[in-house]
Amino acid sequence: MTTLHIVRQSAYATNDFEQCIQVLNDTDLIVFTDDGCYNLTHNCQKRINEQVKQMLIADHAKARAIEFKETKVTAITMDDLVTLTFQADRVITWQ
């Protein structure tokens, strides 16, 4: 059972991503979109289990000049996000 978490806000500005982390299961997926892309560098990353796969919408990160390592996070497209929506059992949007 997998939950897809769409994270749209900066953890530096609001507590939403923190709340997402609180309900994460090891088999879950995180996709950072919009200002959520800023969360790659946030401290609360430390509390995310390595098994949880993290992705981001490539254009959303590039538009913001956010540098990221593909080892830690996978860059995806909007088409991929649609595919993931149906691969996961449910979606929660954190915005």
Binding site: D34, D79, T85, R90, V91, T93, Q95
Partner: protein, 122 residues
């Protein structure tokens, strides 16, 4: 065929709404059956035909309308949320609410939720 329903809560002048539009277009191109888009909270402003967007900016409002025309995408407007934001359900050609949108209530969200495989909020 996979079924998708989408809830939109962000206004046309937010880039978050462009993300939602891109997601919906990606789904349409992937042959997903979008059973409906439900506009709630500040999302209702996307149905307001009087919203003015500078010509050199992304035309969010028009994009919803053209998705409706091109794909017969059902656009449901929560009328209670709309009325709170100055968009009453009025007859006439001068209506604020663009006719690509169907006047709905939360009952329609129940309907969408029970027909769809996934309900995604934006």
């Amino acid at each position: 065929m996979k079924k998708l329903a989408v809830v939109i809560t962000t206004p046309p002048y937010s880039n978050l709404t462009i993300t939602a539009l891109n997601y919906i277009e990606a789904a349409l191109h992937s042959n997903i059956n979008i059973v409906g888009v439900f506009f709630y909270q500040d999302g209702v402003l996307n149905a307001n035909s009087k919203v003015q967007i500078a010509s050199d900016e992304f035309q969010t409002i028009k994009r919803w309308q053209s998705l409706h025309e091109q794909y017969h995408l059902p656009l449901h407007l929560c009328i209670t949320a709309a009325e709170k934001r100055g968009m009453p359900d009025e007859d006439g050609t001068d209506s604020l609410i663009h006719d690509a949108f169907t006047i709905s209530g939360l009952g329609e969200l129940v309907e969408l939720s029970s027909t769809t495989d996934r309900l995604v909020q934006f």
